[in-house]
Symmetry: C2
Subunit: 317 residues, 2 copies
């Protein structure tokens, strides 16, 4: 049977193979994604982000456990190199992760976070597309919320959960790190620790001040103790409320269209770059040009301008 | 007097204004950077990265203090939203930072880490260029070493210092996070804490196993207690050794040429994207195309291909 047929019949090994093809941008992956993309759009994407050590993976584990127990099919994509899903954590964590159902209701995949060809954000999005086409109901995407690319990844999700702990600093720091800006729901995890309650109050206050327009979602604050499975149902409830809210007005639609637009432009940018380099390699002595800039005989902006003109002139029309 | 004249005469306020122009990509910033770029290439760029809470800013402060005390002019660029240089830390930290010389030997600037037009990496590089042209001897670039873009930023420096603490996990996690890969020098900070010594031993072992070729620099491990100014001279010594090493063979040269090449390609990518969007806006109904993809009537790869052909055909030749 063809790989794609096996994929559509629910074969997990076929799923893994397709993900690898897409992640490594193997020959034909564009055609493959094109074919799959018509089967996508059904899954809900939930991003979970926050500083290292906030307990994101444990929370993702608890959510997955709750969801899969109710029959929901959950795909997990971990972009966090320290996540136990990627094998980056303590043995105990890894064993516990093994307790999730292994009958195909739950699938997890970690992303190589450095040097992804074409960009980490694009690679993560492509892997999500494959999971969506396979039939997962919910895709949980875990990233470390410190880098720009990583925040962009969760920003592309339907609902964004930001996880913090008292140790990760006060509300001001959360705001400055750009975490509050992307959050639909803020989780104060490890709620039994000192400072958790005051952090939750602080965040509520800051978020309340922020909400500007009447039809905007007001970010909710939930306290949890993920390692004790405390607060998970409340979190799940908040996620559902958020999804209902954005579907009831046009936020969901608008946000997804924007993501489609971004995706098309990202594919194009990548293509331009590739074609440009191929073409230039035949026409100009790029090493010489680099050398001129390096030695201060020219400047990168001038050179880029000249190269662009060369490209434009040579383009078949 | 013209702004640029004031800049070249060493006026700090002119420096700040030019940086703002460049960071915000104001009208004419390309021409400006082009003009400045011929005056660049003299400054040494040192990247300091590591997980949040590792004490990067304190270390940068100590290094700056040591260097400026010896007459070296130091420019600091903080890409870390939680850095005290960006105002993200405790009051005590900020006051202490104020003790650095204010006579123009030291200058610091924080980068807005979210939503930098044209990319954070490019913005940071442009700001470094301005500092280089102004005449700073050393540029210290502080980033949070968790995100891909942030690691790329320090990777573009001549010397990369990675700061870890016992709390940031073991050597395996450091490796997985991509931190070891970019490090020329690894600092185990907060060396008085439990686990610091064993982490240093572990790192040395892992690094020793890694070094493959004979002419490659073997990453050094330094232990420090930055808040007590302990170990800073040793670190400085190691940085000098690394710079001597890369200058004695062709690593320095090769790495800088590679950075020039990357910069030219980044400028071009940005330009293509801009011109492409302008051109398409006149020719196609982009909203309709997005809608087709959104509704599953087409796929993003197919659409990107068609748009590329439209662009190619319309291009003046």
């Amino acid at each position: 049977m063809e790989l794609l047929d096996r994929f559509f019949s629910g074969d997990i090994r076929a799923l893994s193979r397709l993900i690898t093809q897409v992640e490594n941008r193997r020959e034909g992956f564009r055609k493959l994604l094109g074919d799959l993309s018509k089967k996508t759009g059904r899954a809900i994407k939930i991003g979970v982000t926050g500083p290292p050590g906030a307990g994101k993976s444990t929370l993702v584990y608890c959510l997955t456990s709750l969801l899969s127990g109710a029959g929901t099919k959950v795909g997990i994509v971990a972009v966090d190199p320290s996540s136990p899903f990627t094998g980056g954590a303590l043995l105990g964590d890894r064993v516990r992760m093994g307790e999730l159902p292994s009958d195909g209701r739950v699938y997890f995949r970690s992303m190589a976070s450095r040097g992804a060809t074409g960009g980490l954000s694009s690679a993560t999005d492509n892997v999500s597309m494959v999971l969506d086409a396979f039939g997962f109901d919910i895709i949980l995407i875990e990233t470390v919320g410190v880098g720009q690319v990583e925040l962009d990844i969760v920003d592309a999700c339907d609902t964004v959960v930001v996880v913090v702990v008292p140790e990760s600093g006060d509300a001001v720091q959360t705001m400055k790190a750009g975490l509050m800006e992307v959050a639909d729901i803020m989780v104060v995890n490890k709620a039994d620790r000192q400072g958790a309650e005051s952090l939750a109050v602080e965040l509520k206050h800051a978020l309340h001040l922020r909400t500007s327009t009447q039809d905007a979602w007001e970010t909710k604050v939930v306290t949890t103790q993920a390692n004790q499975s405390i607060g998970i149902e409340k979190l799940h409830q908040r996620i559902r409320e958020h999804l209902e809210f954005i579907k009831a007005n046009d936020h969901f639609d608008r946000h997804r269209r924007l993501q489609v637009q971004k995706k098309i432009l990202a594919i194009l940018s990548h293509r331009f770059r590739r074609e440009f380099i191929d073409r230039l390699a035949e026409q100009v002595d790029f090493d010489q040009i680099v050398d001129d800039v390096y030695r201060g005989r020219s400047d990168p902006y001038l050179v880029a301008d000249e190269l662009y003109q060369t490209y434009a002139r040579s383009h078949p029309s």
